[in-house]
């Protein structure tokens, strides 16, 4: 697939409409990289900043989700590629998130005894 190429979908009637768009260039990638580095620094700062302790978990989760979304959207091109890729990956991600949430809820409701 060549850079900047628009990909077409064919509806059988000869009409084609773009579903994918040009990938960003090196400048955008570098800007995203700088933002990711800043977010990581913010995570470490939040971890060491004692007054933020009550809000630490939500702050870290939000920062982590932002980094995740930026890498997937820009570096992995989901923002620009065919929506089917988003659907396929989103399905796997949703299953993984559901498993984590369900297990945490289950073990919170029915905790294990502290025995090894």
């Amino acid at each position: 697939m060549s850079h900047g190429e628009q990909h077409l979908t064919h509806d059988g009637g000869g009409h084609a409409e773009p579903l994918e768009h040009a990938h960003p260039g090196a400048r955008t990638y570098t800007i995203i990289g700088v933002i990711l580095a800043i977010f990581t620094l913010a995570e470490v700062w939040a971890y060491t900043f004692e007054p933020l302790r009550p809000l630490l978990v939500p702050v870290l989760l939000v920062l982590s989700a932002c980094k995740f979304a930026m890498v997937v959207g820009f570096y992995m091109h989901l923002r620009f590629d065919h929506p089917l890729f988003t659907g396929v990956f989103g399905f796997g991600l949703a299953v993984a998130a559901s498993v984590i949430t369900a297990l945490l809820f289950l073990f919170h409701q029915y905790p294990l005894p502290h025995v090894e």
Binding site: M1, S2, H3, G4, E5, H7, L8, T9, H10, G12, G13, G14, A16, L19, H23, G25, A26, Y29, T30, I32, G33, L36, A37, T40, E43, V44, Y47, R53, L56, V57, L60, L61, L63, S64, K67, F68, V71, V72, Y75, M76, H82, L84, F85, V88, F89, F91, G92, L93, V95, A96, A97, V99, I100, L103, L104, F107, L112, H114, V115, E116
Partner: protein, 215 residues
Amino acid sequence: MARTAPVVLDSGSVTPPALESPLVLEHPHPSIGIDNRKLLMWAFLASDCMFFGTLIATYMVYKNRSVVPPFPRETFDVPYTSVSAFVLLLSSLTMVLALASIQRGEERRMRVWLSATALLGCVFLGGQFYEFTTFYRDGLTLSTNLFGSTFFTLTGFHGTHVAIGVFWLLSLVVHSFRGRLHQEHSLFVEIAVLYWHFVDIVWILIFTLVYLIPD
């Protein structure tokens, strides 16, 4: 019989032209216009998401249930791991710059960026090896307690993914040196890019959920 021009899609497949008579092509094979290899990689990454999801869930469920030390808080060296996280993030940038280079036809630059990515991956692996050996010296092994078992399984599998990625990148560099990787083959680099970034986003989650979130 009048025919319209065939539509060539990015994967190289050609959709049948619209025909006046439906008898000629009764069962056309429609294409959605995406490369099957790329779709396969996304499907693999989706399944890998579930794999790491279960490992992360297991770690979190068993968190704080160890009765034998060492425990996470006294074991982790967060500043050290932060540097590892930076290294992996930086490797994501160099990886995507390699893709941008081959898409512009700059093969030499692509080799430089790919080699840099592989080098950063090796630095991350070296850091992980040092971390593991330090933990081992502190008495934390795979069978010491629940923390050791879940932690080493999770981060060990991630490290294995990084190691596979490094070999993949080096093979691309070798292919490029042998003149087998040109601009028209950028899809091969793009698929490797997807894998590498997936490894990076998994570490983003591990770094936050395992290392930073308090007990």
